[in-house]
Symmetry: C2
Subunit: 199 residues, 2 copies
């Protein structure tokens, strides 16, 4: 899976061959072919692996309050965390563009979409429950909106080289200003919940 | 250009050949090759043609007030207007994913991004000027946000088959609730500007 990641970053999706993946691993092309029917089969497993990794990594999100955890989660989604991030984002966009032609890719991409929406909707619902977010916020609609914005930030980064960090700024102020109750609207003092907006 | 559009919708970007384009036109493959160096060259001209068409079509946007025109413009962006829309959206996403490998595509995609942002920023600035939108709204930041959301809606439609119309609903309420001044915050009565929110 690491070799597939490196090969995708190096060659992109369209040009990728099993040989490229073998070259990045300590296995021969024959051994890889023994385990996977071909490039598509291997990439289906790779997307499955990424989804499982994503679900595990985001099972517990650090932060004292739901709002802090939502900031943190979106930071994680929109911040490039290694030097191959640009190339990997491009490869994922190529795979998204293949989705209408490939039911197996589409299933994995839907799994990602669903997992991302669910995580966000849960955090928003927790924030409402905790009296940190406005009670009239709809967790599902908010999650759907933020996932769309996330896809947009990724696409624009690839298509027109616009840094996704600019969307992150917007997202942070959206959480603080649109989702969070203003301090004077809250039931009682909540130091933790206020910490972020005062930064 | 019409033949290129039809061929892209039928075959997608990756599989498209000059022969496919010739088959959709009344020209021979030889004639097309006489005018264009190959598929990339033809598609660069096609993107150029789309951009010019887009700029001309959106030079005047119907609507009585800036808010109405902004609603109309985003309706236009996010509504599929023919039966090939799904296939065409996929082809455009394939081209976006090629952008890092192709400077000429990137230039055209940047032209689109810029034209879309400029149209939106102008409408938002007009709305502020007319006292219809809040004076603390930033036209450039709003335009950038809406363009990101537009890209996200297009990408999710292709990647996970989520209808872009759902984003359109969000966008309409964003204009009415976040950009527009509430009727009681306005300087004077403005029947036209109120018409939309009362629908």
């Amino acid at each position: 899976m690491d070799a597939t990641y490196r090969a995708l970053c190096k060659h992109g999706y369209a040009e990728l061959t099993m040989q490229d993946i073998a070259a990045e691993s300590d296995k021969s092309k024959g051994t890889i072919h023994y385990h996977f029917d071909g490039k598509q089969d291997l990439l289906e497993s790779f997307l499955e692996f990424l989804l499982t990794q994503f679900e595990e990594r985001t099972e517990t999100i650090p932060g004292e309050t739901p709002a802090e955890r939502l900031h943190e989660f979106l930071d994680e989604l929109l911040t490039a965390d290694d030097e191959d991030a640009v190339e990997f984002r491009t490869a994922i966009l190529e795979i998204k563009a293949q989705s209408p032609y490939n039911e197996a890719y589409r299933e994995r991409l839907r799994g990602f979409d669903r997992a991302t929406r669910d995580r966000i909707a849960d955090l928003v619902a927790e924030g409402i429950e905790a009296g940190e977010f406005r009670s009239d916020v709809d967790p599902e609609a908010t999650a759907d909106f933020l996932v769309t914005l996330f896809h947009g930030a990724q696409t624009r980064a690839t298509a027109v080289d616009r840094p996704p960090e600019r969307t992150l700024e917007y997202v942070h102020s959206y959480i603080d200003e649109t989702l969070c109750l203003a301090s004077d609207e809250r039931d009682g003092p909540s130091l933790e919940a206020d910490a972020r907006t005062e930064e």
